[in-house]
Symmetry: C2
Subunit: 162 residues, 2 copies
DNA sequence: TATTGTTATACTCTATAACTATA
DNA sequence: TATAGTTATAGAGTATAACAATA
């Protein structure tokens, strides 16, 4: 690698002004490429179960919490907008994968939880997800993988406070 | 961090079977969160210039190559599907940001290039992109940032050959 | 017969605003 | 008056198939 990023002009650059890191090497693209590589293996598995990537995010997020959570909380965790999520929850409820109930105490809030059927679906898909994970773990090694997580966490933290 | 990922059951896990890494900690989500953090700062800049994230990817990819490239090549580099790209190119051409011409030699191929207007737009936006980049660079430090790139590259390589 | 790119079609998600009902 | 969630609406991207032109 060893790309010059110290503010000086880059070696192969025809421009005198400071360049963007080349497209292929830009951080957003590097992140997207890594994610694509992971998801490319995983999307067919989801498709078999007629789940979109976003619906899977919702199920996984709900599978993680033991209790039910509000729509707002769920939107934050899944990076989905309220309106998108709202309609997705209708679909997932119709499929019996999630259940909703009004919050006792604050009737504006609607609490969502995953159903046993939903948990079974997650449990069915989970092992296939592990295979992809293991490939990456084997490739990078445990130490480097943890380091990747750490670097990603620190990157995400940079712009957490807008 | 130090999550147990060696195949043994996890400490806080109620399940006897092998768990998924928790949703928040899953690799795709970690990658998405990092990317979101970067793009959250950048999207408003693109919106000012009425560009979507995908249109920006196309312009950046074309700005990178000195020559014109085929639609297929462009699709690969930008992670866009042919039909999506095809329609986007019409829009970008109408805006005078790109130009297309039939390939001499193989009339099936259509070669695309960025126009001077397109390059000016990229040059206008680029410095704002650098600010975001510098924040991350400052936070992680040069060494760790390069390491992040290296780890992302190795992650992407894992599933390159399906 | 295979390849390159475009069109057609249906669906999903994004994004913003407006609305309902609570608080 | 502010908040939580839904509905409305417009637009963009995804995905697959079908198609035209060319190799």
């Amino acid at each position: 690698m060893s790309t010059t990023r110290d503010g000086s002009s880059r070696t192969a650059s025809p421009s005198t002004t400071r360049d963007l890191r080349s497209f292929d090497e830009s951080l957003p693209m590097a992140l997207m490429r890594a994610r694509e590589a992971v998801m490319r293996r995983f999307r067919p598995i989801l498709a078999e179960h007629e789940l979109t990537e976003q619906q899977w995010r919702v199920l996984r997020a709900l599978d993680d919490v033991d209790d039910s959570i509000t729509v707002g909380e769920l939107a934050e965790r899944t990076f989905l907008l309220g309106p998108s999520l709202s309609r997705m929850l209708v679909t997932l409820e119709e499929r019996g994968l999630i259940a909703r109930a009004a919050d006792r105490g604050d009737a504006r809030r609607s609490k969502t939880e995953i159903t046993p059927t939903g948990r079974r679906l997650v449990a069915t898909i989970a092992p296939r997800s592990e295979i992809v994970y293991d490939e990456i773990s084997a490739q990078l090694g445990h130490h480097d993988l943890e380091q990747l997580y750490d670097l990603l966490r620190r990157t995400a933290a940079v712009t957490d406070q807008p």
